[in-house]
Symmetry: C2
Subunit: 452 residues, 2 copies
């Protein structure tokens, strides 16, 4: 073990990733006698649990993003570095960020996960996932463009495919997306079109297991399914997706194979570890699980590298009940805070018992007045659960700025059933403008396409 | 003249463009005995006067965008069509939208303007303009990336160029951008960086004429310049930009030629008519001015085509004092409403006096507590003008939704001097992920179920 308290202060802590794990570690170190460098490839922390609301036009990306520099501006021992870590040197104790190197005494890796198509990467084109702001804007574009195209379509079969939304995966994200799209169709957009009746929209939620929200108690899964069905969502459990092509989803239910014609397929089914898992495997000899997550020690360090920690979705921590902890925000937060505390203890020559996750429960939103909350000792559903969900999410939005604006936006959305953030933006909307006065076609917008 | 009241009802009005001109025409026709089709290539109305606040990280695109369908959902005689008009047939009275045709009895063209580089289109790459949401997000990316790059730059000359912002054009947009960037640097970002002092940022505002805000009264131009200088902006009037290349702006002041090293050049200098001007010229024989704007009759129609109207930035209306009306929102609104009224009068066989623009004044924001307002009979500056500016902009934001959120956001920004919407997004931020170990990883159930 590296004898940390023998090294000269200030002790250098490098954190890779500004998600829940990395950011909570950095915040917990704000007053410690260490130097902290937080490295992220984006300049903001993203509150991922609300990303589905950006995808469905209820919130703007900035509503759920906090500039990392501004969150940490008061932490005078902390430097934020915008860049992507592409290598680690464990002998010289430094990380490589583009052309630069950043030395560390302690390294905390918290680069999270991305979505996975179980090896069928060609499905991504037809069924985008939801991990980044750009993903959410792309989902938003597809959802609202489908209604626009349906309004113009005269062929009934094509129109039906345009008004059919398939969500693959019945976990919290899938449930929340399905509920939100159903509400969009039956409430928000009801008065907006002249040729289509948006309440005829079909929303299918496909789940491989025998119930939605598998991590929840069975009665809450049942309750969630009933609430979704009340909103008009067609919930199909024990359903395996065997192929996704342009406009056609092939599913298998038992021995039966069916196809669904749908122009909008959304992926909420699987995740795998970010690429840093592979770097750590190569450079530290760390073991990874099938999803590429790094198997960590009881103190979240890597075996044989007691000064390198992995927290959040990238970590496989199985020391509690043999099963890896789930990839959710509370796990990442608690892991980040634990490592921050451990580093400070070690500097003083002290130690800390192994990491122990305190599960305060799970929650998922279905729609207006409908959610499920499983706190272990108590289970909530319906209005109370919905209210609790709102409260918790407001509470955890990191900056007060965001909390306030999101709250106002929600109150407004609630009373009007409106969703203001449904602008369609991005690459395909910036078209070359035809014919200039000199007679030849000239694209006007030659810059890089943008997502908002 | 087409005898409109002889045609069979319902009279078909087609409006091309959902900006201020087109949208106000549509709203004014909501209760008329006509059918209205509003065609726009975007699905939202953009409140362009606040676009500079999106570019400088104070607001989100959705805060200043209203879905056209939702603004017009109560107008049961109105259909919104998402698409781009690429041709007009004046004989058969129809417009072409992609593959479709839409017949009209009255046509109102309100497709506005885009920025112009006076024939130097190669400047656009280095000096983006500000007309669309995508433009604003690109400006935002450049502004915040410049600070990020400066934080990492060790060469003093390069760092200086990164912290030098050049705004070309001293009209309202240029003045507002310059003020906002100066405030960003000296207030919002002051505590956020560790290697640079953002208050050393240099903001240059270049104007060809002898004063900023040329349409305003000279004393307000002077006041605006003084306020900008108090914020640290270097205002250079009588300054012509002769070249813009990567990192270098060449200017001419009298006989003197200078160069400015700057990584971020923003264009707020010139506009030209949208491409529909050319289509109208070809198909109706309409005359256009140098900027491509269609010269209209006293009733805003095109000469020889009394049922085709042009309103807003695309129109050159010079029947008031010989000078074309300026390309600002109030002109477009009043023109749109005038044509809506005229169409209804004509259907009844009545007529209307020529269009008469009522100039209620001009206003421009400079920064906290600093703005200029010229109402003709009264001129305001400083705090009062600033407050008036806020009030007017809140008032005109079309949907109450937007008004409320923007107001809250501003109140919050005011007290904290924070700007929450400074996330850097877009294609360049989404990098390819490095090579995986054995081709592909197997996924595992972290949040979502595996076997879907």
């Amino acid at each position: 073990m590296v004898d940390l308290h023998d090294r000269k202060p200030p002790h250098q802590v490098v954190i890779v990733g500004g998600g829940f794990g990395g950011l909570y570690a950095a915040k917990a170190l704000a007053k410690a006698n260490v130097n902290v460098t937080l490295i992220d490839k984006r300049n903001f922390h993203l509150f991922q649990p609300l990303l589905y609301q950006v995808a469905t036009g209820a919130l703007s990306p900035a509503d759920i993003s906090s500039p990392l520099r501004s969150v940490l501006s008061k932490s005078k021992n902390t430097t934020v570095l915008l860049g992507e870590v592409n290598d680690i040197d464990t002998t010289e104790q430094k990380v490589m960020v583009g052309g630069e190197t950043v030395p560390y005494d302690t390294l905390i890796v918290a680069t999270g996960a991305k979505h996975s198509y179980f090896g069928k990467d060609n499905w991504e084109e037809f069924a985008p996932g939801l991990k980044t702001v750009e993903d959410a804007i792309e989902m938003r574009r597809r959802i609202f463009m489908a209604f626009e195209a349906a309004e113009k379509e005269s062929d009934p079969a094509k129109r039906r495919a345009l008004l059919t939304f398939v969500i693959v995966g019945g976990g919290p994200t899938g449930v929340e997306l399905a509920g939100a799209i159903a509400e969009l169709a039956t409430q928000t957009l009801k008065e907006d079109f002249r040729n289509i009746d948006t309440s005829e929209t079909k929303v299918l939620l496909l789940e491989g297991l025998d119930r939605v929200l598998p991590p929840f108690a069975p009665e809450l899964s049942q309750e969630a399914q009933a609430s979704l069905e009340a909103l008009g969502v067609d919930v199909q459990t024990k359903t395996l997706v065997t192929n996704i092509e342009n406009d056609i989803v092939t599913i298998k239910q038992g021995d039966e194979v069916k196809t669904i014609a749908s122009k909008t397929v959304l992926w909420a089914a699987g995740v795998k570890a970010s690429a840093m898992g592979k770097v750590l495997m190569d450079k530290t000899g760390a073991e990874c699980d099938r999803a590429g997550r790094v198997i960590v020690e009881p103190d979240l360090s890597i075996k044989g590298h007691s000064n390198i920690f992995v927290v959040g979705d990238l970590a496989n921590f199985a020391h509690q009940n043999g099963k890896p902890l789930p990839g959710v925000a509370p796990v990442a937060m608690q892991e980040g805070e634990y490592v921050a505390k451990l580093v400070q203890k070690r500097i003083k020559g002290e130690t800390l018992p192994q990491f122990n996750y305190v599960d305060r429960g799970s929650l998922a939103m279905i729609g207006q007045h409908a959610a499920v909350v499983d706190l272990g000792f108590i289970k909530l559903k319906g209005f109370l659960a919905w209210f609790f969900w709102l409260f918790i999410h407001i509470y955890f939005l990191i900056e007060f700025d965001n909390k306030l604006v999101v709250m106002i936006q929600w109150v407004w959305n609630y009373f009007t059933r409106n969703r203001g953030a449904r602008l369609i933006t991005g690459k395909e909307m910036v078209k070359p403008v035809p014919v200039e006065s000199n007679g030849h076609y000239q694209p006007v917008n030659t810059r890089q396409p943008l997502n908002v």
